[in-house]
Symmetry: C2
Subunit: 205 residues, 2 copies
DNA sequence: TAATTCGCATACCGCTGGTATGTGAAAGGA
DNA sequence: TCCTTTCACATACCAGCGGTATGCGAATTA
């Protein structure tokens, strides 16, 4: 799919990718509001004509960038989680991987700060759900199916955990007073544990 | 303090309050980015000269609005919590009150969506800490002091809970697919319970 | 009542996101 | 091969934005 045969199609793809790359770099560094389209097209060595040929406007470019970021985070989480055989380890390892990925400089601001404000919370939530947050819900659903979790609905728990981890990521990567990773994890782990079935270590069945 | 004696001082206060009121209304309804200063001053029946006489610019006006909103939420939380004699009930009642206050139409978008993006996450966090989030940390600290909580540091737990509740508020008041309050609470309560000391219902001491 | 203050209005500016149109090289047909 | 069409992008332009400099008149003060 990324392959392009014609000379024109190849150039087109490269221009598009350059715009996404420079847009992401500038959005991450200065924030959505403080980045102008003029700045982006100058960094990409093209003009606004090119940008509007590829994207519908500034919010659309940001959305494409965010899509890329979300996919990147989701891939990192999935790769780490899938390496764990035990379902519970998959959950904890996935959470750790999320925190690591979401605190990356090219991710944090775009995904967690500007994302909801630019696209609106509902649209942002849909994207988040379709990507990284989905893995969390999946992991919880898997655990629930095997009786490890209390038989409460998993969706609310997944959302609250997602919110907690987003906040954790923002704190861990706070440029002013970054949080302590160990302290965060020691607060997060009991929250995960609280989801376990109250009936001893193994339920019937 | 709100009293003003001179005719000029009274007019000044009224203009300032009108700007804050209309600014808050428009920010809450359309979002920070989609509200122009022209729109605000037109709604307030003044001109930009008045606005810039009272505030340093658009972000400064927003910050003043957010300050008002935060204080309002903090007051509601404190009033509800303080009515409960039992420390643990103060925590849970305070959480419920926060969810109720944060989902209000004039609060949600300003405090939870645009706030971090406009002021930057660090500055937003400072304000949040100084207002509503402080009550959560205080409640946890009080419980920790009386041995009800496990003796882990309270700050990380407070932050994660704050993140979870912010997300919960956003979900509960989602205009597209609002969350179910009961489901949210049944997911949040176990998280709070998980903070309790692991030693039986009552620790030594 | 003359001088001063100051709350606000008026007029203006550079820049932004967005649009309408032009253009030249690559792709396609004879 | 040459002509035509396509299309990726450049150029030129615009209304509206946040922000600034200045003017003004009523309330205050001396």
């Amino acid at each position: 799919m990324p392959e392009a045969t014609g000379a024109r199609a190849r150039q087109r793809e490269q221009t598009r990718r350059t715009l996404l790359r420079e847009g992401r770099r500038l959005f991450a560094a200065h924030g959505y509001a403080d980045v102008s389209l003029s700045g982006i097209v100058a960094a990409a060595r093209v003009t606004k004509g090119a940008l509007y040929h590829h994207f519908d406007g500034k919010p659309a470019l940001f959305r494409a960038v965010l899509d890329e970021v979300q996919e990147e985070v989701a891939d990192a989480v999935a790769a780490t989680a899938d390496a764990e055989p035990d379902p519970w380890d998959r959950l904890t390892a996935g959470c750790r991987a999320f925190l690591a990925a979401a605190t990356a400089p090219g991710v944090r601001r775009i995904m967690l700060v500007d994302g909801p404000a630019v696209l609106g919370w509902s649209a942002w939530r849909e994207m988040d759900e379709a990507n990284s947050a989905r893995h969390l819900a999946d992991a919880l659903a898997g655990l629930a199916a095997s009786g490890v979790l209390a038989d409460r609905p998993v969706e609310p728990a997944a959302r609250l955990l997602s919110g907690a981890m987003n906040e954790a990521a923002l704190w861990l990567a706070d440029p002013r007073a970054p949080g302590d990773p160990d302290a965060v994890w020691e607060a997060l782990e009991p929250m995960l544990e609280s989801l376990r079935a109250s009936r001893g270590p193994d339920a019937d069945r």
